[in-house]
């Protein structure tokens, strides 16, 4: 079930109406939990068992952590939780990758290794809810939060349908307290949430899905296209992946908001970032902060000298890349960002106060950062390293391998998107909707929906981040 499908609308209206009609907090939570499982079962009911295992293990580990003060026992409990959660993630997501990589390495060394014949299906959303449950266990272990006493609350934290399959990656410390008390409809600011939902819908159904066929065509055979098309395809992919993922996040945040829950932001106009560091403060915020808090800082962060900092940055980004997918192109993508963050750190220390932050310097920073980001997207999107390399050479204008061209009219969309993105970064447009008179907002919303429908791509594409 995809947020842009009609059946999700029917599902959500039913879930919302019954939720707000229920008179007390507990049946509301039961309702939300069961509807969340229905939502997930629409993908594949068999993998609900993985969510239940993860939930139950972390619930029991949390309770046990709350009852013991012995450091060794606490560490053992945490390791048990990490083993179960990372074990499931590793098996379902990385088993094939590591076996294939080992077989490839063996072949390089002259050994013939039999590759695995296991065809493992990747359960939707496993990377997201595994990171959520991990953060819960680690936070309880670190005594940052109290363990959940109520299995229902923890199950809803893990399985809450708006964020279940593609985030944002919510922290227990933020979400569990919200479950403690009944939510009131009068406290929900419906207008901004409805606006945010529509905005997310536009990003996904009107922009991302419409550019997808051209992007797919290019990346399937980059050697058939000219250099101008490489530029168009790479920029379109940058637009596609942003609109796809941030569109999903917007709809998730808005859906949760209409149910009275705050999931926190996940994107803040990343393509206006003037440095790699700023990019990661704006792109997939819930993942970047997770990696910072549970990987980068435990590795030592920037407290153990310059060399260790660079190492930590690189490890964090490589694992961040691997989180996205079990393939070497994602690792390379992580490395590209790791190098960028390290280089920016070196530059920042060298620069000191020497370069004034003028408009020109900011513009140069944005151009350089986004060019680097686009380079990363090439590896992120390419089917294999060979085709990625063809695209890079074409994109750098080192060659123009083919004669096929993508429609030059795409430049209009690229320019329009850039302008809208920059403009959007300057204000809280969804909050502005709340200032409209109620009836004017309602009528305007109906008209906006009608106009948006005109530009919806009929062939719905699955969300890109569902595969992670």
């Amino acid at each position: 079930m995809i947020f842009t499908e009609l059946r999700f609308l029917a599902f959500f209206v039913a879930a919302l109406a019954a939720y707000w009609a229920l008179p007390a907090n507990r049946p509301r939570k039961v309702w939300l939990l069961l509807m969340s499982y229905v939502f997930y079962a629409a993908w594949d009911w068999r993998f609900l068992s993985l969510i239940w295992i993860s939930t139950l293990v972390d619930y029991l580990v949390g309770i046990a952590l709350g009852r013991t003060e012995r450091a060794g026992r606490r560490r053992a409990l945490l390791i048990a939780s990490l083993t179960v959660n990372l074990g499931m993630l590793g098996f379902f997501k990385y088993f094939g990758f590591f076996v294939d990589s080992a077989a490839g390495l063996g072949a390089l060394l002259g050994f013939t290794l039999h590759r695995s014949t296991l065809e493992i299906v990747l359960p939707v959303g496993i990377s997201f809810y595994t990171f959520q449950t991990l953060s819960y266990s680690i936070d309880v272990y670190r005594r940052k939060i109290e363990p959940a006493r109520n299995l229902l609350d923890l199950a809803l934290f893990v399985g809450f349908f708006p964020q279940l399959v593609a985030g944002p990656i919510v922290r227990a410390a933020d979400f569990l307290p919200q479950l403690a008390r009944i939510r009131r409809w009068t406290a929900v600011r419906a207008a901004p949430h409805l606006t945010l939902f529509l905005l997310g819908f536009v990003k996904k159904a009107c922009i991302s899905d419409n550019v997808a066929p051209s992007v797919d065509a290019y990346f399937a055979t980059p050697q058939a296209y000219d250099a101008a098309s490489a530029w168009i395809a790479v920029l379109l992919y940058a637009i596609q992946i942003y609109c796809d993922f941030s569109g999903y996040s917007d709809m998730a945040i808005a859906s949760a908001g209409l149910l009275g829950y705050d999931l926190g932001p996940n994107f803040r106009h990343p393509y206006v970032a003037a440095s790699p560091r700023e990019f990661w403060q704006r792109w997939h915020i819930s993942l970047s902060t997770w990696l910072r808090d549970y990987l980068y800082i435990p590795l030592g962060g920037s407290r153990r000298g310059e060399l260790a900092t660079h190492r930590n940055l690189m490890i964090t980004m490589l694992l961040g890349g691997l989180w996205h997918g079990a393939a070497w192109n994602f690792v390379l993508w992580g490395a590209i960002h790791g190098v960028a963050l390290s280089a920016h750190r070196v530059w920042g220390r060298w620069r000191g106060e020497r370069v004034r932050r003028t408009a020109l310097a900011v513009a140069a920073g944005v151009a350089l950062t986004q060019a680097w980001v686009c380079l990363g997207w090439i590896f992120f999107r390419a089917h294999d390293l060979e085709r990625a390399w063809v695209t890079v050479r074409s994109w750098l204008l080192l060659e123009s391998p083919g004669r096929t061209t993508l429609d030059p009219w795409w430049w209009l969309l690229i320019v329009a998107f850039a302008m809208a993105h920059a403009l959007g970064a300057r204000g809280e447009w969804t909050a502005a909707a709340a200032r409209w008179p109620r009836w004017a907002f309602a009528a305007g919303y109906g008209v906006a929906v009608a106009i948006v429908l005109l530009f919806v791509q009929v062939d719905v594409q699955p969300f890109i981040y569902f595969q992670f």
Partner: protein, 557 residues
């Protein structure tokens, strides 16, 4: 950009209102249970409805195969209990198991006899009135005698749901949803959510008003064959006086160049355009005819095929832009009575109505039509090449021409397969023609609803002062309802080419591309004959049948 959920005063987690926590709780639990049951009912409903409509079975029964008898070579025959009315459904979903393992299903008894070795087929033949004879032909996995090899043979087949139980399920479904709705409404009222219904209603009204306003002003889709034809037609609409509308038998048979040239031979001017596309039926024809006649005053002549409308839209067409395109309010108004009049069992009727409503909703929501507008604009500005058909063809593309330069490999395979199916099964085609010769060429009332659609086309043509001609291609079956309409005077002009005695050249193998279509040469010849008929010349359809250029006796006032 993310909105702040909480109001500025920091009421993040609202204290529990006393009234809410001490609310009469049983109603809350009741609502929760009813709502969950409703969700389960909605989840199960499509599968149950498909079972009731004899689409995909949900319930099966296992029956032991009693006393199989030898049926030639390696095959054995076992009779099954006759299945009234549902023979196709039953035979299509019946499986044969050997010791619990399914044997391999093959399409014909001949294949079972030849191959044996664990194959089976299910045969359904007309038996006594209203009842079909149903049996399976199968061979054991090692070609041993299934009567003595000690293995167990069973069939698994769909099980009918008792009508009373089906009705009870419907009542339960409706009652459950109604009760849930009532409790939700009461709950929303109690929690001050109901006032939001006003703005929601206003929003819906505003949206629907905008969509209704856009309905006629937006361009049609250009993303398919018909869209491309319409776009090419729009460029020359001012000079086109003759339009051909219909299925592939129009698309592949009527050549505007030949038609215009024949008119020119006789000193008459004609400028025609072929808007036929595969599987165009009468409701689509009506929709298009309405839009074309409203959009152009240059049209003087409409030549239509008017194929019968099926109860269900074909599965592969259901989600196409083209089918959605013509499911406007007019089509819905015409389609629903047709479905209700068809006399199908209620689950099939319900599914068919739901199907049309869904298509109408899709059309009314105008999804993607703005993109079509942009596409059309870019096509114009960018002068993009044609995707299906060159503009100078004016919508006509013979199957031979298509085969010479197919767009894709699968197109090429499909076109060649169709040609081979006719030219390699010659005896089969001869039997078809012989059967056609034996069948009555006279009209017969089959579908009163369809007559009303013919009459509607006539009224439409009269209103716009356009000459309307129905055409019957050289097809392998009769079209008695249309002939009846001509004999009864419901339609004025019918050009018939469906007589193998009158037009043997159109039924000869070297005049045909496949079972349903002529080759290029014969298609052009048919076009010429049609033009001649309209010109009143002798080479047109024979005068004694209700033909074009000649009003049938019954049609005269």
């Amino acid at each position: 950009m993310t909105p702040t959920l909480e109001p500025p005063r920091g009421e993040t987690i609202s204290p529990v209102p006393a009234s809410a926590e001490t609310a009469p709780w049983p109603r809350g639990w009741l609502l929760l249970i009813l709502a969950l049951l409703s969700v389960a009912a909605w989840a199960a409903a499509p599968a149950i409805l498909r079972h009731l409509a004899h689409e995909e079975p949900l319930l099966h029964e296992t029956v032991r195969l009693e006393d199989p008898s030898p049926a030639g070579a390696r095959a054995y025959r076992a009779d099954l209990e006759p299945s009234p009315q549902t023979d196709r459904w039953a035979s299509g979903w019946t499986r044969v198991l050997e010791d619990g393992r399914e044997l391999e299903r093959v399409p014909s008894g001949r294949e079972v006899r030849e191959r044996g070795a664990g194959t089976y087929t299910v045969v359904s033949r007309p038996g006594a009135p209203g009842v079909s004879e149903l049996f399976v032909l199968f061979g054991s996995s090692d070609d041993s005698d299934p009567r003595t090899n000690g293995r167990r043979y069973r069939v698994v087949r769909p099980r009918e749901l008792a009508p009373a139980l089906a009705k009870a399920l419907v009542v339960l479904f409706l009652g459950l949803n109604l009760a849930t709705l009532v409790l939700i409404t009461l709950g929303l009222k109690r929690h001050d959510v109901l006032p939001a219904a006003g703005p929601i209603a206003l929003s819906v009204v505003a949206g629907v008003a905008v969509l209704a306003l856009l309905e006629r002003r937006l361009p049609e889709s250009t993303g398919d064959l018909l869209g491309e034809k319409l776009r090419q037609y729009a460029r020359v609409a001012g000079e086109i006086d003759t339009i051909f509308l219909g299925s592939s038998r129009v698309y592949r048979h009527l050549d505007p160049a030949t038609f215009d040239a024949t008119f020119a031979e006789y000193g008459r001017r004609a400028s025609s355009f072929n808007l036929g596309v595969p599987d165009m039926r009468i409701l689509e024809t009506l929709h298009l005819a309405e839009r074309l006649l409203e959009g152009s005053s240059a049209i003087e002549r409409l030549i239509v095929e008017a194929e019968a409308e099926p109860l269900f839209i074909r599965e592969e067409n259901r989600e196409t832009q083209r089918v959605r395109r013509w499911h406007g309010i007019g089509t819905l108004r015409r389609a629903i009575p047709a479905i209700l009049d068809a006399g199908a069992p209620w689950p099939e009727t319900a599914l068919a109505v739901l199907d049309r409503l869904a298509l109408f909703a899709w059309r009314a929501s105008q999804i993607g039509r703005g993109l079509d507008g942009i596409d059309a604009l870019l096509d114009e500005v960018g002068d993009r090449p044609a995707r299906w058909i060159e503009p100078e063809n004016r919508g006509f593309l013979s199957l031979d021409a298509d085969r010479r330069a197919p767009r894709t490999e699968s197109d090429r395979e499909g076109l060649e397969r169709r040609w081979r199916e006719l030219h390699e099964e010659v005896a089969d085609w001869r039997r078809t023609v012989a059967r056609l010769r034996r069948s009555s060429p006279e009209g017969e009332l089959r579908d009163p609803y369809e007559l009303e659609r013919f009459a509607e086309l006539e009224r439409l043509a009269a209103r716009h002062d356009v000459e309307l001609v129905f055409v019957l291609s050289p097809r392998p079956e009769r079209r008695p309802n249309l002939v009846h309409a001509a004999e009864a005077g419901i339609i004025d002009r019918l050009a018939r080419f469906d007589d193998p005695d009158r037009y043997p050249e159109f039924y000869a193998l070297d005049g045909r591309y496949d079972r349903h279509h002529l080759d290029e040469e014969a298609a052009k010849e048919m076009t010429r004959r049609l033009a001649l008929a309209l010109l009143g010349e002798r080479d047109g359809p024979r005068p004694e049948s209700p033909g074009a250029g000649q009003r049938p006796a019954a049609a005269r006032p």
